[in-house]
């Protein structure tokens, strides 16, 4: 019984998915299906909160670990899922017959992502990675413009499959060198494994699949295209929920490989991560400068943010990890706000060019204010979490003595100001185009969600202590395992 309690969040979300499927078979209306899914996701969030303090291993020891770190990440995933579902109520950009299936796939993918945060065995991790990816592949195709949907899905899926195949190949070498797939045993054997170059090559290959989900260079190609060509709620899901799980796994893997004193060769991993971070930040920010489409711009901005996160990840310290967990929560809220605006503005459009935001201030002051907060956050301006979060990320790298890296990151943030401000300029200073002058009226639920997200962004920015302490405790729980 205690074991069931430990996997309560996954179980709730998964049972909700099954219930939604049952509703689909019974032929309930879109609204009813959506309500069931929404209630299920709220229950899932509740289940996460209930299990927040629990620790244990529900299955055979070493395969699946429930601790504060995994449960915190699951809570974040569940909260983000609720927010995404708020936007997923019969979106016109999707095929009409797919409206009812959208919540079902979102729930399933979230269950997979939750598994990812807890899995401590390589193959379970791989399985969770695939389980979380399959429903998303299917969702992108269900765009109302079949051409756009199928092309976007093909690109995303091909790159995802290549990345996961590389991950698997890397795992095979780690399995061969250590004779086991349990992370705890690998961590224990690290002093011997660390002297083998092949182990580090294997680990790098292994990270490919998760770097792909995070959209870090050189696995970033999909991000702008997929954000652009997915239906807006699905793009929101990819940009927010699935990022959290990837970050959780990266934190776990680095905690296994990097924190150990004995791993002298961890330096190689660190250098590779630094190179990837610099490439991702520079490339993402420079490419974003010339983008005309809002969602594509957010895609490049996501690449840059993946770079910022790796800046702290390469510090291989608990401070860096805490900063990452803290920033992830804030990043999620900021990104969701921006995508929420994209969803509302692009309600009847296949794409959301930046010019479509023109006159947003007149069309809906509420959305314009949200956009302001979200964009301020992504830019990294106070008093939002974007500022304080980046401060934490960079100071973790500074403490490690990486002055040059932090300088590059800071320069990149400065470059980014230009394109973020361009978005705000369009939204606040330009007159709306003739064809879309109508008032935008988001549903009360969306307004509520937006208020919560804005509150989180501002609260974390003004008084970071509370969230910082939770993140620090979670990282202590993670570090205690290895």
């Amino acid at each position: 019984m205690a074991n069931v309690l430990l996997i309560l969040p996954e179980l709730t979300i998964f049972l909700a998915a099954i219930l939604v499927f049952k509703c689909l078979i019974l032929g309930l209306s879109v609204l009813h299906v959506w309500r069931v899914a929404f209630a299920g996701s709220l229950l899932g969030l509740g289940a996460c909160l209930i299990t927040l303090g629990m620790t244990g291993e529900p299955f055979h020891p070493g395969i699946y670990r429930v601790d504060l770190f995994s449960q915190l990440m699951k809570t974040v995933i569940a909260a983000a899922l609720v927010l995404v579902l708020v936007l997923s109520d019969s979106p016109p950009v999707m095929r009409r017959d797919a409206w009812r299936e959208l919540p079902f796939f979102l729930l399933l993918s979230s269950a997979g992502l939750m598994m990812m945060t807890s899995a401590t065995e390589l193959i379970t991790l791989y399985l969770a990675l695939e389980l979380s990816a399959f429903p998303v592949y299917a969702l992108i195709v269900l765009h109302r413009d079949r051409r756009m949907g199928s092309e976007g899905a093909t690109k995303y899926m091909l790159q995802g499959m290549v990345a996961s195949a590389v991950t698997l190949y890397g795992m095979s070498f780690i399995f061969g060198l250590s004779g086991t797939t349990y992370l705890s045993e690998i961590a224990a054997a690290l002093p011997e494994l660390g002297s083998q170059p092949l182990f580090w090559v294997g680990l790098l290959l292994l990270l490919a699949g998760f770097l792909f989900k995070l959209a870090l260079f050189p696995f970033h190609f999909w991000a702008p295209d997929t954000y652009f060509s997915s239906p807006h709620p699905v793009a929101t899901f990819i940009a927010t929920v699935s990022k959290v799980a990837a970050i959780a796994v990266l934190c776990r893997m680095v905690a296994v490989a990097g924190w150990n004193e004995a791993s002298i060769d961890g330096e190689t991993l660190r250098i590779v991560l630094i190179v990837l971070a610099v490439a991702a930040m520079t490339l993402g920010n420079l490419a974003a400068l010339v983008q005309k489409d809002f969602k594509r711009l957010l895609g490049y901005s996501a690449i840059a943010h993946a770079g910022y996160i790796v800046v702290a990840l390469q510090a291989f310290s608990s401070l860096g990890h805490t900063a990452i967990v803290f920033y992830t929560i804030g990043y999620l809220a900021m990104t969701w706000i921006c995508f929420m605006v994209a969803c509302e503005v692009g309600r009847n459009r296949d794409t959301v060019p930046v010019s479509a935001l023109a006159g947003l201030w007149q069309r809906s002051p509420m959305l314009a204010l949200c956009l302001l907060i979200g964009i301020f956050g992504l830019t990294g301006l106070p008093p939002t979490v974007g500022f304080i979060g980046k401060w934490f990320l960079f100071s973790a790298a500074l403490e490690d003595g990486q002055f040059l890296l932090v300088l590059i990151a800071a320069l990149n943030s400065a470059v980014a100001v230009y394109y973020y401000m361009r978005v705000l300029r369009v939204a606040y200073l330009l007159e709306p185009a003739k064809e879309d002058t109508g008032i935008l009226a988001p549903s009360p639920l969306v307004v509520t969600g937006a208020m919560v997200a804005c509150l989180v962004v501002l609260w974390m920015g003004v008084a970071p202590n509370y969230f910082w302490e939770i993140a620090a405790e979670a990282i202590v729980a993670l570090g205690a395992t290895y």
Partner: protein, 167 residues
């Protein structure tokens, strides 16, 4: 001696099929190359002492996956045509792949793996052990795999169905 010859033949079959699939300019030939490789890999599994996995490889991979690919090919007629074959791209990617191969081969040859005293005998890992493993230690894998497969089938059906209302 004979066993060595047979396994060498399977290995060569697997490698030759893979290289053929990678270079051949015709899509159908490419799938045939994959089929040869899959067959060779099944032989390798047999040598490595797991007839069950070898059987699954043949049943699912050759019998299922390759056939599904050929079906997809037949359903989309233009695929059966000769594809645009850019020599330069093939050569460039071959060079990149050979570089990767050289580096990895050197790494593999210089690494000392923690070999077991004696390779595992066939008795240690029958179908029973696999089933036992799936249902006890690796139960999350079993559950997860079941979920994955059902999700895939549902997703594939939903995606490929024709739109009900074209309006």
């Amino acid at each position: 001696m004979i066993a060595t010859l047979v396994i060498a033949a399977f290995m060569i079959l697997a490698m030759a099929g893979a290289i053929y699939a990678a270079l051949v300019p015709h899509t159908l030939h490419c799938i045939i190359g994959l089929g040869l490789t899959l067959f060779g890999v099944a032989g390798i599994y047999l040598y490595l002492g797991s007839p069950f996995v070898a059987a699954m490889q043949i049943l699912i991979y050759i019998g299922g996956i390759s056939v599904a690919m050929v079906f997809a090919l037949m359903l989309s007629v233009s695929l059966a045509k000769k594809m645009k074959h850019s020599e330069i791209k093939v050569i460039l990617s071959s060079i990149a792949a050979i570089l990767f191969l050289a580096v990895m081969a050197r790494l593999i040859m210089t690494t000392e793996f923690p070999l077991r005293e004696e390779p595992a005998g066939a008795a240690a890992w029958g179908v029973e052990q696999i089933g036992h493993g799936f249902l006890t230690t690796y139960s999350p894998l079993f559950i997860g795999l079941a979920i994955c497969l059902s999700v895939a089938i549902i997703a594939a059906v939903l995606v490929a169905r024709r739109e009900a209302d074209k309006s």
